[in-house]
Symmetry: C2
Subunit: 424 residues, 2 copies
């Protein structure tokens, strides 16, 4: 809200541009929710002061999510009497104020360290290999590092990172930050602490880490196969450059929303792929949105157990509680319903936007991905309001819902007789 | 297979039409799976002999499904040690050969009685109020009654029942048969036997009966609201006729696939409505397809329980077994995956069919509904093969999967430690 007011001030936009309330609201919502959808051409609309505000909002939004979600998970775990190895050292099971402060400092320091590392590498490359002054390189590198790590999709260039799509010194550091931020700290801390013994990771960590690896790998291969000969995207690149561009597009755009290839030029076969990846999103308590990697793969394990006739759902020698299965089901199906209803509404509002385009933009906003096929600016005020609501719902919805569900467990003094209806 | 050969014989088509193998295969698959999708203009392509073959295939297909599914449910129930009040009188819990023969005879007699009743009413109306000979009226009434009861979508008229859309004497008997056949016998027998005490119905019966009522009511109201002023469909009708046409369209087309209003003229807002209704389909062990009404509403109850924080999922004072919840989840999510993948494939095959159209035709085939927006004939050989596969999969898939899942329960001699990952 404060960001909206700030962005409406005259110095925030270039010369004769006067941001309307809705434009400022959309942009600040997009920044604070680390989505990155834009209704205006970011670099040609906002002044440097405006871009700094966007950067600060993004960083605050990202830190708020990372720390807030970590606290929510800690609280829920404590209330459920669960030992949360993901966030707190196994030996310090007391969740005292000191521990919480240490956790938040740990998160903040990791964020700054990652962003600094990314900025240094990208600044060096821009300064040495391109026609940038040191200051210009630092500004661009810092801006995009913060955007990438926080999985937000604003860019200083109208076509995203297209100009650097074949430069691994630019795309790989940003992709690294995007993946790290998109995995989230609960899984990341445990994976780093126990990197020698991945078999001992908690179920949520295993699902998130291996799931993210699978999604990026499958996404890269599928994108490569679909776009291989598309001259509008990677068709004219050498084979190694195609691989680099496809990998960084998937790593950066899947959850972050920074484009590496022109999104308006991708083949229609890439739409369902990207919609599916955006809908799944990143890790729990990460800067990425969506229903979460762990939710998706947990459901896959449920189905697999069901097909094999296993009485329990097991992930790496651990049995998954029925409560978690029901939570995953609820989050996934409610999200499907929200996306489907919103897409239908957007189609009605916009007088017949193509279905795949509507699904793309809606999923992008709901999963706070910020990827677009280039129609965001044309959706009209009602369409923009819908996207604003979806960005808020998508940002705070799934975790709030999940934790509310986990906490709000009623105890029954009696149980009804059981029945086993046959379905299908 | 036999039907395919039969339909390729010269006397089956009109004069100079020579059905290709694929056309015959598609039509016989469509008839035996009681779908009703057509690649040719049925009345202007097949001779009377061909139409009789289609009728016989439809009736055999419908009876096969009704009896086969009833036997599967009986077998599964017995293997699970469940008492199946749905199919067998509560007092006769022995599933001897005599009981099974009695059950099959009961089903067959009910089918014939319903179809005869429908045929009599429609014949009388066609003979008296329209320009039909008695023989012509009987043929048309019998054909459409068998199609409607078996929830198959072939018609003797190129535009379905459009000419009768304002005649309750025609549409209501057919809608009645379609709904009865689409509810299925397990639920129907129990509902009829215990009609005074609906609170005592089994969970599956409650979900199927009340769920069907809700779906038809919601579908009718939504269709009425969307199409109210659409001059291509019901816009020019009087209010009462609008209601009649909307109700019979939903009752007949939701699972049966017989059109009452021109399907090519419906508004785009009706697409998601009809796709959603087709995907859900009808009752278990009915002539309708889809993931089944009970599957859909069971998942709704799971989500509702989850949101309210109830430890158990209860439906009308009965606790639903976790195994049933997992089965419903598996059937629903695998079906979503099949439809999404098939729609993407169809779009690729047909060189960019609009997404909503592809989803419509794929869902129609997979749910064996047979409703079309008029493009079935134009999908090409590869598209037709895809639809043929989907009709088979959709017909035998969900129940086979569900019962295989229910039967294939492994016993474990040990269990792993439980974990409760937090999702969302
Ligand atoms: K984003
Ligand atoms: K049908």
């Amino acid at each position: 809200m404060f960001g909206t007011g700030l962005l409406m001030l005259p110095p925030m936009a270039i010369e004769d541009r006067h941001p309307s309330f809705l434009t400022a609201l959309f942009t600040s919502t997009s920044a604070i929710s680390v989505t990155g959808l834009a209704v205006v051409d970011t670099p040609h609309y906002w002044s440097t002061a405006g871009l700094v505000v966007i950067t600060v909002l993004t960083q605050l939004g990202g830190l708020g999510i990372l720390t807030g979600a970590a606290l929510v998970i800690l609280t829920v775990s404590r209330r459920l009497g669960l030992q949360n190895r993901l966030l707190v050292q196994a030996e310090t099971l007391e969740y005292g104020l000191g521990n919480i402060r240490r956790l938040l400092l740990h998160i903040g320091a990791t964020v700054l360290a990652c962003e600094a590392l990314m900025t240094v590498v990208v600044t060096g490359r821009l300064w040495m290999a391109y026609d940038y002054s040191l200051g210009g390189a630092l500004w661009s590198a810092g801006f995009h590092s913060i955007q990438a790590f926080n999985n937000s999709g604003f860019s200083l260039y109208p076509d995203g990172l297209l100009a650097f799509s074949r430069d691994p010194w630019i795309t790989l550091p940003l992709a690294f930050g995007s993946v790290v931020g998109g995995v989230g700290f609960p899984a990341l801390f445990e994976a780093v602490r126990q990197w020698r013994r991945p078999a001992r990771w908690a179920v949520a960590t295993k699902l998130t880490i291996w799931g993210s690896v699978v999604l990026v790998a499958v996404g890269t291969v599928a994108f490569l196969a679909i776009e291989w000969s598309n001259r509008g995207t990677i068709g004219q690149y050498a084979a190694a450059d195609k691989l680099l561009a496809a990998f960084s597009q998937i790593a950066l755009a899947r959850t972050g929303g920074i484009e590496v290839v022109p999104p308006g030029a991708i083949r229609e076969e890439s739409y369902p792929l990207l919609i599916w990846l955006m809908f799944i999103g990143g890790g729990s308590a990460s800067t990425a949105g969506g229903i979460k990697v762990s939710t998706f793969f947990l459901l896959a394990f449920v189905i697999w157990a069901e097909i094999r006739g296993e009485p329990d759902v097991t992930v790496g020698r651990r049995r998954v509680a029925t409560a978690s299965q029901r939570q995953a089901l609820t989050v996934a199906l409610l999200s499907v319903a929200i996306v489907a209803a919103s897409a239908s509404l957007l189609i009605a509002i916009t007088n017949h936007l193509p279905v795949q385009t509507a699904l793309f933009e809606i999923t992008s906003a709901f999963s706070t991905t910020g990827l677009t096929v280039g129609v965001t600016a044309k959706l009209g005020d009602a369409g923009h309001l819908l996207l604003i609501v979806l960005m808020y719902v998508g940002r705070i919805g799934p975790l709030t819902l999940g934790s509310a569900i986990a906490l709000n467990t009623r105890r029954r003094l009696y149980r009804y007789a059981e029945e086993q209806p046959i379905v299908g």
